[in-house]
């Protein structure tokens, strides 16, 4: 179904029957099967409490599943070891460090030599349009700019897989649209794989090549919607009939998922 997409391919990472029970007894995920294909822009869409953020943290290795396994096909594992990027809902910058040093952090932690790292920091900042703000401190920036720094920091290691946990949820709509467009550009330029958690139907349809709709109690995959519209996508796509139809289809899938997951 995504065979026409230039970004389809073998799974980069696969969740097999993944379950996650918290010590409190809450079952966040149960029997979750999910393939993340190399090069795709995958959106995880669902109501709050459906475990989509937990699934993302499990892929990142920040949380261990209590059942099932996360599989990285052997080839992908060696090539992509440590090549993960993570963008949180909050910009999560170090307030005591300026923009350049925040973006430098992943390279510093990986022990990349300072001069090589400097060039990569500059490149990452240029990619998000913040090269002039390298010396600024996070608190001197707007919310949208802070999120750009956060994205630059995730990109600086040239990750094979970029995990994003509702990164634009706290931003105003104008800023969000702008960042949506910029993110698509970055994705196409870098040919990286993105898993993007969101609870916005419109955002998921606009951005992704495939949407996995999740249901809650316990969190599981409920439906899948392929978004075959070609890239690059822009304002024309946002106002097209095709976009509206896809949004309707996705909304219906989400409504069914919420009905299946019981009242929140």
């Amino acid at each position: 179904m995504t065979a026409t997409s230039p970004h389809s391919g073998a799974p980069l990472v696969a969740l097999r029957g993944v379950g996650k029970a918290f010590p409190s007894g809450t079952l966040a995920l149960a029997g979750l099967d999910l393939d993340v294909r190399d090069g795709e822009f995958l959106a995880l869409l669902g109501p709050s409490g459906c475990g989509k953020s937990t699934a993302l943290r499990i892929i990142a290795g920040l949380t261990e599943p209590t059942q099932g396994a996360v599989e990285w096909p052997a080839a992908a594992r060696t090539a992509n070891a440590n090549r993960l990027g993570f963008v949180f809902q909050e910009p999560t910058l170090m307030p005591w460090a300026n923009v350049a040093n925040n973006v430098l952090l992943p390279l510093k932690l990986k022990g990349v030599a300072a001069d090589a790292a400097g060039a990569r920091v500059d490149a990452a900042l240029e990619r998000v349009g913040l090269q002039k703000f390298a010396k600024a401190y996070p608190r001197e920036l707007s919310g949208g700019m802070r999120m750009r720094v956060s994205i630059a920091r995730a990109l600086v290691t040239e990750p094979a897989l970029l995990l994003m946990d509702e990164p634009f949820a706290a931003l105003d709509e104008i800023t969000r649209f702008k960042l949506n467009n910029d993110l698509l550009q970055v994705w196409q330029a870098l040919r990286t794989t993105i898993v993007f958690v969101t609870h916005s139907v419109f955002e998921s349809v606009y951005l992704s090549s495939r949407i996995v709709v999740m249901a809650a109690r316990p969190g599981r995959v409920f439906a899948e919607v392929a978004i075959d519209a070609p890239y690059p996508r822009d304002q024309n796509f946002r106002t097209s009939a095709e976009y509206a139809a896809l949004c309707r289809r996705t909304s219906e899938a989400l409504a069914q998922a919420m009905a299946a997951g019981g009242a929140p």
């Binding site: 290795g61 909050e90 999560t92 005591w96 460090a97 952090l105 510093k108 932690l109 608190r139």
Partner: protein
């Protein structure tokens, strides 16, 4: 910012300096007047003018004593800073060490220093005992605040460090210590004042044993000799020393945090 706002702000700042000075001048004037009109003898209450004269007359002696007390305070403060931060880092890295030692740190803190000082004087050379007192009083706030700071790390940032495989040392140096810095500096500000208190208390306890030449000892000695003006002069010096320590540490705090922490950035920035 509107010009009106800035004018008002400037006036506000001027008032903050002028008003306390006016209060001081008025109080001193009334004090002087009461002593003169009432004919109160100097061994009961010396007039401010007499205290000032004593200041000048005994200047060399008092300055010498001030230096002794300040040196003890500074050493106590330095040891408290190193010991407090060091112990907090150790607690943070090893739960076993924390469980083993924390109760004793609390005991050391809650036992009044006035009660410990005489005991220390029995077992230690006087200078060391005084220093130990300054340290005991000052180190706990540093320990408690640093512990709080090291545990106040943003969870997402901690996850990010884990994601990139940061070592424990890296997490401590690049994450926990910087994010705990405002708390550590807060602890040091408290410790600055307390190390002076610790030094004074110990000097007073030691003073009754005879030797000693710090400022607090001068106060005790002057008391015995009914040299009340000198008592006041020494007290004023101690107070000034405390104020200087407080503002020095506040200044360090401001310099370290002004670019990023909400407590230190200028309003409207």
């Amino acid at each position: 910012m509107t010009p009106r706002g800035s004018t008002q702000e400037r006036r506000d700042r001027a008032l903050r300096i002028v008003l306390p000075v006016v209060v001081l001048a008025l109080s001193l004037a009334i004090w002087e007047l009461v002593v003169r009109v009432g004919g109160i003898p100097p061994y009961v209450l010396p007039a401010p003018s007499l205290i000032l004269q004593t200041f000048i007359a005994d200047g060399a002696l008092l300055t010498q004593s001030l230096m002794v007390t300040l040196l003890t305070t500074l050493e106590g403060f330095a040891l408290a800073a190193i010991g407090g931060v060091g112990l907090a880092v150790l607690f943070n890295q090893s739960r076993l060490v924390e469980y083993s030692l924390y109760p004793y740190a609390v005991i050391l803190q809650v036992t009044p220093i006035v009660a410990i000082a005489p005991l220390l004087l029995i077992y230690m050379p006087q200078q060391l005992a005084v220093l130990t007192c300054a340290w005991i009083v000052a180190f706990f706030p540093v320990l408690a605040n640093t512990t709080l700071g090291l545990n106040s790390v943003d969870r997402n940032l901690a996850d990010l460090f884990a994601l990139y495989g940061a070592s424990r040392g890296r997490v401590l140096w690049n994450l926990k210590l910087p994010s705990g810095l405002p708390y550590i500096l807060g602890g040091l500000r408290i410790a600055g004042g307390l190390s002076l208190i610790g030094a004074v208390v110990a000097e007073i306890a030691a003073g009754s044993a005879g030797a000693g030449s710090g400022l607090a000892y001068r106060i005790v000695e002057s008391g015995y000799r009914l040299n009340i003006p000198r008592m006041f002069a020494a007290l004023v010096l101690l107070s000034i020393a405390g104020i200087v320590i407080f503002y020095l540490l506040a200044f360090v705090n401001h310099i370290a945090l002004r670019r990023w922490h909400e407590s230190a950035v200028e309003a409207g920035n």
